[in-house]
Symmetry: C2
């Protein structure tokens, strides 16, 4: 049995698809089988809001690797196939495609079962065990297609949740001519993505285009002819309730790891509800790997477990899982940086490292700087706001958050600093690239560090 | 005399002006005097090509800090004032403004005398000790004004030197409707900025807009009515000569450190012809500092001395000089990264670390990758080519070169890696920011490192 080099992968999202590719790159001969319950091969879930807005012309454009691609790579991809059971002792996966039961033995297993949407407690949300007509999550191509069919110029849409997906959808539906209201139960938008002070810059900009109600809960929906017509919104502080006409309700309130299969394999489940994986993306069960939204891993800075919710991390875990499952040797860093970015209403945001609130128990110093992407004398400079947080004792850069021009690439430089354990006193002297049409002599990435460094020196 | 805290600064370019500011920030009370031989206070020399193209509307826009600004900062700025002699023993500077001789004693001196253009051996270049009418360098606002007065749509301009300034000028004059020919004596454009293979990408793109003649020397000019009319171009390989009608000849063939004053102070001059400075920007003479184009400093990677020729480095040295001259304590890293960037004909280029040819005696491994700024499925992705070179023994990243989208900010991430001594095996696992409209799940900055890493492993 230990001679069995067959690899079975559950799920063909970004995680499963990538794992299959890297397993194949590592081992040209072994049998590789991917079971995917949906009808599409690997496609970009993150791209869904942009197909809804029309920026990406066709839904099918999202497919990154076609069935043919998998075939040519000699990977057995079985779509419309649900894995029902994993027998760990005998190393067999039982799956079902229509009425056909498939038994597949494996040497290594990679679980990329993803996550399922987590619904907020809204009354009348479901009817006959399904979301009411006009109420949607944004998880699949089918979701995006149905949402698109509900869009009408001048119509009203309510989005529950002001995280990245909520705001991306707000932009998309606004572009399609809908009146958008975003309802957020918490006092700030983009919790865990940005600190409150940084989120306020985004809040102000987004509020110019759509209505944002923070501290508000969607409490109840009403239907008319079997379709959503109203959503009731409750002020979390005053308890006041109002109703909004709504043709389309988008739920963007996060996800829960999909671990129903993994649970029965003996793979340890962590505090956050995800499958625990190590630097090799291996679970607590030898030769069973997992990657993506169904897992939890350590945060690089706090070394505490966090649920994985970013496609960029899923892909990196899947590279490790695929290589290691195929007999290679690939280790990820001891924790994830959670480098993240998005863009809506023309504003780019990005961040790396935990939100400052999550650095409990650490003594930290933060500094902020609002600057321009270009020298003052050069026309067309765009605003950029940066916040950097460092460890008070060592000066090590722990996190950075940016709103504005080239936020993502600027944050990548900080990601390198976090990963490399670089201290702020070194980073502030970084020689950044300068040319009048491109960046000022001293880029905002170092100017913000001057401020942090001064605060740090005053404390010492 | 040692009690004298007066600071005298020679030159009010980016170096001198910045040094004055940081001296003032460090010491609110001391007397600070800046002698500048030109008629303008601190302005951006790097911005000159963009005033010529009209992108920056007015020449005066280039002035970053006005006379009034210096006055308000309680800095004595004396324009039109030439320093004639430095008496190191008695710590006195002798300057001349018109016929008035100024004697100014100092406790600390900062030399920011810049560089002077270095002319190629072209016959008839000068008449009566001055460049022929229609022949120009691009060093000062006056140069830019005169060049602008010679521009005519449909006219012919020849640029000698295909370095950064030569190509920036080619773009500017092309925008103004001139027919541009760039003549470069060497076999490649952008020597020392990019390796030959990377420069070829730029060469191909620029050649679509203007004529580039590499391996060609400008040998002679002819005049008509006291103005340039022809330039003779010689093929360095075949010796063949041709003449080009030229209304305007731009010399962009580099500079030499201006050290005539420093020479007599006892400050040590290095092999490259610049004033030797240390991490504090102090010269070999105590309390005499120097910054910018008149200096040489170590390259961070090779630890060999190199002449300083970038405004970004001048400003950083000046920060150190200003703070230290005023009694503070500020040290630069042990060498410069030479992070550099520019943009012409819509193409952004950037690099950090020495050109690979300059890594003599080191065993290095390089890798290249051509990718896109966005995921394949997202419209509008732009090409980006990257080259990364690492030390074969340690895997440390030594240099990176980029041509294409967001080259500069991507190179800043590598600059952080070079400064932090990060190895390619770590960097390739960097979690970069991903979102469909912004960057792919795996950015080119890590994909190129995968290639380098594989090459490295094959060699080991």
């Amino acid at each position: 049995l230990s001679q069995n080099s067959d690899i079975v992968i559950i799920g063909c999202g970004a995680g499963g698809g990538t794992a299959a590719q890297f397993a194949r790159k590592t081992d040209r001969k072994s049998s590789i089988t991917v079971f995917e319950k949906g009808k599409y091969p690997q496609y970009s879930k993150c791209g869904l809001p942009y197909t809804i807005s029309g920026t990406i012309p066709k839904m099918n454009d999202l497919i990154e690797f076609s069935e043919e691609w998998f075939k040519n790579a000699n990977i057995n991809l079985s779509l419309g196939t649900t894995v029902e059971k994993i027998n760990v002792d005998n190393r067999i996966v039982f799956a079902k495609k229509g009425n056909v039961v498939i038994e597949k033995s494996f040497g290594s297993l990679i679980i990329c079962s993803g996550a399922k949407p987590s619904y907020p407690p809204i009354r009348n949300l479901e009817q006959d065990g399904r979301l009411v007509n006009g109420v949607h999550v944004v998880r699949t191509i089918d979701d995006a297609e149905t949402i698109s069919s509900h869009i009408k110029r001048g119509g009203n849409t309510t989005i529950v949740g002001a995280g990245l997906i909520g705001l991306e959808m707000a932009d998309s539906l606004h572009r399609k001519g809908m009146n958008v209201t975003v309802v957020e139960a918490l006092p700030q938008i983009l919790l865990n993505t940005l600190d409150e002070d940084m989120s306020k810059i985004v809040h102000a900009a987004v509020s110019e285009k759509v209505v944002i109600l923070t501290n508000h809960l969607a409490s109840k929906i009403e239907t008319k002819n079997g379709k959503i017509s109203q959503v009731f919104i409750k002020n979390a502080e005053t308890g006041e309730e109002q109703s909004i006409n709504t043709n389309l309700l988008i739920l963007a309130t996060g996800t829960k790891p999909e671990i129903s299969l993994a649970k029965n394999t003996g793979c340890k489940i962590g505090k956050t509800g995800g499958i625990i994986v190590d630097e090799k993306s291996e679970t607590s069960v030898k030769n069973i790997y997992a990657a993506g939204d169904c897992t939890e891993y350590l945060d690089f800075v706090t070394k505490k477990p966090i649920p994985i919710g970013l496609g960029s991390i899923a892909v990196r875990q899947a590279i490790a899982a695929g290589i290691n499952a195929a007999g290679g040797d690939y280790k990820l860093p001891e924790g994830v940086l959670q480098t993240r970015t998005s863009e809506f209403f023309g504003l780019e945001i990005a961040a790396v490292g935990p939100a400052t609130d999550l650095l409990e128990g650490m003594s930290v110093v933060s500094g902020k700087f609002n600057g321009s992407s270009l020298p003052d004398y050069f026309p067309g400079g765009k605003p950029i706001s940066l916040k950097v947080t460092v460890d008070e004792k060592t000066g090590r850069i722990l996190s950075a958050q940016a709103v504005g021009d080239n936020a993502a690439q600027r944050i990548n430089t900080f990601a390198c600093a976090v990963l490399g354990g670089i201290v702020v006193e070194t980073f502030r002297k970084l020689e950044t690239a300068y040319a009048p049409p491109i960046a000022p002599t001293l880029d905002v990435v170092t100017l913000v560090c001057d401020i942090v460094s001064k605060k740090l020196n005053r404390k010492r």
